[in-house]
Symmetry: C3
Subunit: 280 residues, 3 copies
């Protein structure tokens, strides 16, 4: 693997563009992590809106710069609002990020995720590696909605998983971002491997959901491929700093979660240059 400094530069430019425009991001997201998603968008320099009534989706998408669909909550009214929001987003040319939460955990989730992906043709699909594998029809052993060891990418399976992600991106026409110990992002042609992050991120619920919300804000400021990478790199580097902080101060997961927001809030170009681990 070779470090890709060109993409890193593109990512930094995109993040700065995002911060200067402060995009309003409409999130139709699950109840568990909705507050974290809103606070993470504010922390990164964007603005959240979590409207969920179908009849206002047209107006909301009109004032928003991106749409994030998180399939953690699957009730019918909610799904219907998601479809209407996605139609409006498409018509208005606003990017759509879809998070297939829990794909692999039940037939309902598999089918709904596949149907929603076909229907909304998201610019970016972001999920855990096990969720992406479930969507491709691969073998998975779901341990719920949070990332698990099953998501591990190592030197042995890296190319295989990279090809799986690339094929799925080609098939769907979306940029696909599969997060895990190593994160894999592909637009169907190129494949990127991102090595930032720390395993403590798996011990906070919703770091995946937050990453999807952040991807929405990033997609409002640049191309889907760089946007997906930007969100993951931000979360990864903030995770590393948060881990180093709690290790040094001998604190735990509660403090780690607080510091994650602190670091997302303060990340600068220098941090990305010093820490960014983008390969292909």
């Amino acid at each position: 693997m070779n470090k890709n400094d060109k993409m890193l530069k593109e990512v930094i430019d995109l993040i700065n563009r995002m911060k200067s425009t402060r995009p309003l991001v409409e999130c139709l997201t699950n109840r568990v992590t909705i507050n974290d998603c809103a606070n993470m968008l504010l922390a990164m320099g964007a603005s959240p809106i979590m409207a969920e009534i179908e009849c206002e989706m047209e107006e909301i998408m009109n004032i928003s710069s991106a749409l994030v669909i998180n399939l953690g909550l699957l009730d019918g009214t909610y799904l219907s609002a998601m479809k209407t929001a996605a139609e409006a987003a498409k018509r208005l040319g606003k990017p759509i990020v879809l998070d297939p939460v829990g794909a692999g955990a039940s037939k309902l989730r598999d089918e709904t995720c596949r149907e929603m992906i076909e229907l909304t043709k998201p610019d970016i699909i972001r999920g855990n590696m096990s969720e992406i594998r479930a969507l491709t029809g691969g073998n998975i052993s779901s341990k719920g909605v949070d990332a698990s060891d099953d998501d591990a990418v190592n030197e042995t399976n890296r190319l295989e998983l990279g090809e799986l992600v690339r094929e799925y991106a080609e098939k769907t026409g979306s940029v696909v971002c599969a997060t895990g110990a190593v994160d894999i992002v592909s637009d169907g042609v190129q494949v990127f491997y991102l090595k930032n992050g720390h395993e403590m991120l798996c011990d906070v619920t919703g770091t995946g959901c937050m990453c999807s919300a952040m991807t929405g804000a990033a997609a409002a400021a640049g191309e889907p491929l760089a946007a997906a990478i930007a969100a993951v790199v931000m979360m990864g580097i903030a995770g590393e700093y948060a881990y180093e902080y709690v290790k040094e101060t001998e604190q735990g997961i509660g403090t780690f979660r607080v510091k994650l927001f602190d670091y997302i809030y303060s990340l600068s170009d220098e941090d990305y240059i010093k820490r960014g681990e983008i390969y292909n």
Copy 2:
């Protein structure tokens, strides 16, 4: 503008009365910040209850000391429970605080907020300046549900906005509290300008919602005008302390949010006397 020490004293008395009675506050509020509202009520010395089923509203209002209606979530079942709760609150003489979240963002929101205000005749309406402007029919440019620069009050527009808030209070018969860089509160006769706070409060989602919940607890312990001012002053001073803490310790928005709760928990008469900025 002149500092109003009489109102400051009234506010301090009201807060101490509130703490000594520990009022139970029923909140019908949105999903994004519901946990923060509950924790903020506990932090200030009140008790939260977030019951939402219509058929128990009569009993819940019977044991509660105030009702907070937050229009962030607009689904029909929920609105129906709000109406029933408001009827019970009126009948039982319990104060009602209404937060017109996102007024200006969609027709649905504008209409629902206006309808709910007419129907429930709240003792206090608390919103961002842009939301209050939207309700008065003024020009607004909504950037979602969190406060934005559009809310800025400066020496040039202060009297104009003060008159707008006063007129809206007169028209509705409610105390109106419009928060922003300077907060404006009016009962239709007097106009108060509150200068506490820090802009980092805008980078935490739900500080407005939390302020409305706190207003409910305050309204259980005194007149609506002083209650609205009390909640805003508490939040504002805690915001200043939290900012000073994170600046000194070189931390960020995650820590700011934690410290906000710490300071609300510990604010004393001395803090109000030293820091309170109430003018008219």
Copy 3:
């Protein structure tokens, strides 16, 4: 009262077994504290899943190791999903923990709690002392859903309340865990009194809900009696440490809440041995 070191040892073994198997715990829980429950499960070494659509409950219970039913939210669709989940759990031999949130606050809550207990025959019922008293038909004065002074257990009423809890456990066939200043746990035969904890736990919303979620994870790793005690002891000791931390560092309730997660994350056998206060 005598210290019961045998039970303490059983509790420690159970917690270690739980950590080594990392059980997936399905929680059907209220919207106020759902994020805290998920994060607390992760902090203690378990995995959360918060699926709530009825038609996937069979599959979800199949991959889960325990079911937690929290009756804070009482809408019909939700209750229906709870019943289906409970049927599946029973059939599959997965333990059920039920939290009768707000019993005593309204007729709806009393009736729904009683009905759900009869229907689901939970392995463990965990509530505040006032909620358990309400279910037994005793006199209560509810102050909402958070624990209050009404829950106080002292040397005068300890045996009386212990007998009340024991009788209710005998009647329902469940292990009953009534939390308060002193926590009482009974399987209908033995009665245990747990003295860990700190009153600041009452100033964070959802410590009861979190404790119920933790009880679910514990029940996946051992007998209901030891599991109920294990969860309460973990929360109690973490609460003591968190209090000592904020007292020493002169911080408040926001920091206390963060440290609660930190300590749950790091509790070790030594902590239980040094601090555990299990009596009967």
